[in-house]
C-alpha cells in the first residue's frame, strides 16, 4: 500500500466528494423503515446491494428529479429537433440585424450575439458538452478500471509501474495540465478536447479501483473460489469486479458532471471548442463582455443550462453513493 495517506483530492475534482464517507443519508426513508421491518417478517427478501439501492433511490425525490433533468439534457443532445425546429447552424436561421434582442414572444430567451435564437442555441449547445462528457467518462472509467484491477489484483512490479504512472499524471494540476496539452495541439475540436481530458481523467478511477480490488482480494470468498480451482480471469469477473464496482459507478456519475463543466471552462478559456461550433462555453464567452453592457440574457440562459446540468449529475451521484454504500444504512 504505497500511497496510503496520500489524499487524492486535487483541484476541486469531482473525485474529492467521493472521499467523503456516506454519513449523509437521506432522511426521508426513516419512515419507511418500520414498514420494511414488518415486510421482512412476512417474507424473506432476497436483497442484493443493487436491489436495496434501487428501492432506496426509487423513494428519493432528489434522485427522481435529477434523473429526469439528466434525461431531458441527454435528449437535447441526442434529438435537438424534438425541442426546437430552428437549427442555429442552418443558413438563414440567424439574423445578424436582430442580434442581442431581449426575450420576446418570438424568441423566448432573446437572441444571441450572432442574432440566433437563444433557446435553440442552448438546446443545440448541449450536444458537444454531452458527447465529450459521455465519451471521456466511458473511456477513462474503462482504462482506469483495467489499470486498477491489474494493479490491485496482481500487485508486484506491475502495481509499482501503474501506481507511479498514476502519481505522475496526478502531479499535474488538472486544469493547468489540460490547458497546456490543448495549447500544444494545433487544432482544437471535440475529439482533441476529449483525448486530453481522458489522458488526465483515468487516474482517480485507477486509484479507487486499485484500493477496492486489494480489499476484495483478501476476502474469504476469493480464497474459496481459488481453492475450488477458479482461474484468475473468472475470479476477477465473477467476484472482484461486482464487489468493487459500486464506488466507480458513483464516481462516473460525478465525472459526467465535472467533464461538462471542464469542457465549458476550457472552451471559455479559448483552448477548447472553436467557432463556428455551437457550445455552452462559446455562448457564455461571447455573452460575458456584453452582459456587462446591459444584456444579461446573453449570459443567464447558457450559464443556467451548464449549472442545471452539472447540478443534476452531482445530485444523481450523491444519491447513488448514499444508496450504494451499505455502511450508511
Amino acid at each position: 500500500m504505497s500511497d496510503q495517506g496520500t489524499p487524492g483530492i486535487r483541484e476541486g475534482n469531482a473525485a474529492a466528494s467521493t472521499r467523503e464517507s456516506p454519513a449523509g443519508h437521506p432522511s426521508d426513508d426513516v419512515d419507511d423503515r418500520d414498514d420494511e421491518a414488518q415486510e421482512r417478517g412476512k417474507k424473506e427478501r432476497n436483497a442484493s446491494l443493487w436491489a436495496d439501492a434501487w428501492r432506496e433511490l426509487y423513494h428519493n425525490w432528489l434522485f427522481v428529479v435529477s434523473g429526469l433533468l439528466v434525461l431531458i439534457v441527454l435528449s437535447w443532445a441526442a434529438f435537438p429537433g424534438l425541442w426546437t425546429s430552428n437549427d442555429p447552424s442552418d443558413a438563414g436561421q440567424c439574423e445578424l440585424l436582430n442580434n442581442r434582442a431581449p426575450p420576446s414572444s418570438e424568441h423566448i430567451f432573446g437572441t444571441t450575439v450572432q442574432g440566433c435564437d437563444m433557446y435553440a442555441t442552448v438546446i443545440y449547445g448541449a450536444r458537444p458538452s454531452i458527447i465529450i462528457a459521455v465519451v471521456v467518462t466511458a473511456v477513462s472509467v474503462f482504462i482506469g478500471m483495467a489499470f486498477g484491477v491489474v494493479a490491485g489484483y496482481y500487485g508486484g512490479w506491475i502495481d509499482t509501474v501503474i501506481s507511479r504512472l498514476t502519481d505522475v499524471v496526478l502531479g499535474l494540476p488538472f486544469l493547468l495540465g489540460a490547458v497546456v496539452f490543448l495549447a500544444l495541439l494545433q487544432d482544437q475540436n471535440i475529439w482533441t478536447v476529449a483525448i486530453v481530458l481522458i489522458a488526465l481523467g483515468w487516474t482517480q478511477v485507477t486509484r479507487i479501483m486499485r484500493g477496492n480490488v486489494i480489499a476484495a482480494k483478501g476476502q474469504d470468498y476469493v480464497e474459496a473460489a481459488r481453492a475450488l480451482g477458479a482461474s484468475n480471469f473468472s475470479i476477477i469477473m465473477r467476484h472482484i469486479l461486482p464487489n468493487s464496482i459500486a464506488p466507480v459507478i458513483v464516481l462516473a456519475t460525478l465525472y459526467l458532471g465535472s467533464f461538462v463543466s471542464a469542457e465549458a471552462t476550457l472552451t471559455f478559456l479559448g483552448v477548447g471548442l472553436q467557432l463556428p461550433a455551437i457550445s455552452w462555453g462559446i455562448t457564455i464567452a461571447e455573452g460575458q463582455l456584453l452582459a456587462v453592457g446591459g444584456f444579461p440574457h446573453l449570459l443567464i440562459y447558457p450559464a443556467g443550462a451548464v449549472i442545471v446540468t452539472v447540478l443534476s449529475f452531482i445530485l444523481l451521484g450523491d444519491a447513488l453513493r448514499d444508496a450504494l454504500d451499505p455502511r450508511g444504512r
Binding site: A16, R19, E20, P296, A303, V310, I314
Partner: protein
C-alpha cells in the same frame, strides 16, 4: 516517523522527474509534429531563414531531435533539468527571463491564494460544524444544498456572474452614493493596483468558493463520523458539556482530513487561479499563463507550468509529512 519520511521522500523524486518528463515529452512531440514554434511568431510574414535559425538557437530549440517525431529527446531533457536546477527557466519572446516574470507576478497570486484560503477555511469549517452537530435539521439541509449548488457552478460561470453582480450593479450603486474609494475598489470589475488587497477580496472569494463547498462537506461527514466514536461517548458519559465534547474531543480529530485538504488546495490554487485571474484581469501567475497561451508563447507556458507543478508537488509532499505528524496511524503503518 523517520522511515515514513524517508520513504515519502524517495517516492517524491521519481514522481517529480516523471511529471517533468511528461511535460517535456509532450512539448517535444508538439514541436516535432507541428514544426518550429518560432515560425508562428511571424504570422503571415515570411522571415529570412537565417532569422528563424538565429532565433531558434537563441531559445535552445535547435536540437536536431526536435525534428524527429517520436524521439523522446533525453539529451534535451537532461540539459533542461540542469538549467532548472540553476534556476534558469528560459526567456520569453521578448528576451525577458521567465523567472523574473514569475517573481513579478507571484505576490499577486499569493495574496489571492491567501484570501481564498482564509475565506474557504473559516466559512467552510464553521458551516461544516454547524451542519454536523445538527444533522438532518434545517441548518444541515441548508448547508448540504448550498454546498452542492456551489460545487455545481463552474468557476468561470461563478466568476462572470459575480463580476457582473458585484462589480457592475453594486459597484456602480456605491460610486453613485459617494462611497469611500477602498469600498468601490472592493466592488470593481477588475483588479486595481492602487488597492492591492481590497480589489482582490471578491476574486479571492470566487476562487475559494469551490473548495469552500468541499471543506464544508468534508468537515460535516468527518465530524459526524467522530461523534459516533467510542471516545466521544465516553466523554459524554463523564458528563462533559456539549461544547467541550464537540470542540475538544470530536472536532480536533475530525479536522485532520480537512487540514490535509486545505494544504493540498493551497498548492492547487496557486496554479489554478487561471480562470479567476483571467476574468478579473489580475496580472498574476495564472494571468501570465493565460496571456502566453493567447500569444502562442508555448515555451513560456511550459516553463511556468513546470515551475507551478514543482510547487504543487512540493506542497503535496509537505502536506503528506504534516499528515503523518497529525495522525499516528499513518506513520506507524
Amino acid at each position: 516517523m523517520g522511515r515514513y519520511t524517508l520513504r515519502r521522500l524517495l517516492q517524491f523524486i521519481p514522481v517529480l522527474l516523471g511529471t517533468l518528463f511528461l511535460l517535456h515529452y509532450l512539448q517535444s512531440l508538439s514541436f516535432q509534429i507541428n514544426g518550429n514554434p518560432i515560425r508562428a511568431l511571424f504570422g503571415d510574414r515570411q522571415p529570412p531563414p537565417e532569422t528563424i535559425a538565429a532565433l531558434t538557437r537563441a531559445f535552445g530549440l535547435d536540437d536536431p531531435c526536435l525534428t524527429q517525431p517520436g524521439n523522446p529527446c533525453f539529451g534535451l531533457f537532461f540539459d533542461r533539468l540542469g538549467n532548472y536546477a540553476q534556476g534558469d527557466f528560459g526567456v520569453d519572446f521578448n528576451r525577458q527571463s521567465v523567472i523574473d516574470l514569475i517573481i513579478r507576478a507571484a505576490p499577486l497570486t499569493l495574496r489571492l491564494t491567501f484570501i481564498a484560503v482564509v475565506f474557504e477555511s473559516i466559512i467552510g469549517i464553521v458551516a461544516g460544524v454547524l451542519a454536523g452537530i445538527r444533522k438532518d435539521k434545517f441548518i444541515d439541509n441548508f448547508v448540504r444544498f448550498s454546498t452542492v449548488l456551489i460545487i455545481a457552478v463552474p468557476v468561470f460561470v461563478l466568476g462572470v456572474l459575480v463580476q457582473i453582480g458585484s462589480g457592475l450593479y453594486v459597484g456602480t450603486w456605491l460610486a453613485e452614493q459617494g462611497a469611500p474609494e477602498w469600498l468601490t475598489a472592493t466592488f470593481s470589475i477588475t483588479y486595481q493596483s492602487d488597492h492591492p488587497w481590497a480589489s482582490l477580496l471578491v476574486p479571492g472569494m470566487v476562487l475559494g468558493a469551490l473548495s469552500l463547498g468541499f471543506i464544508a462537506r468534508l468537515t460535516r461527514t468527518s465530524l459526524i463520523e467522530s461523534m459516533r466514536a467510542d471516545y466521544v461517548r465516553s466523554a459524554r458519559a463523564k458528563g462533559l458539556s456539549g461544547t467541550r465534547v464537540v470542540g475538544i474531543h470530536a472536532l480536533r480529530n475530525s479536522l485532520i482530513p480537512v487540514i490535509t485538504y486545505i494544504g493540498i488546495d493551497v498548492g492547487a490554487l496557486m496554479g489554478g487561479a487561471l480562470v479567476t485571474e483571467g476574468i478579473f484581469n489580475i496580472p498574476g501567475v495564472g494571468g501570465l499563463v493565460f496571456q502566453s497561451i493567447r500569444s502562442g508563447e508555448t515555451p513560456v507556458v511550459i516553463a511556468v507550468v513546470t515551475l507551478l507543478t514543482m510547487v504543487f508537488l512540493l506542497t503535496t509532499l509537505l502536506v503528506d509529512l504534516l499528515y503523518a505528524v497529525l495522525d499516528p496511524r499513518i506513520r506507524y503503518e
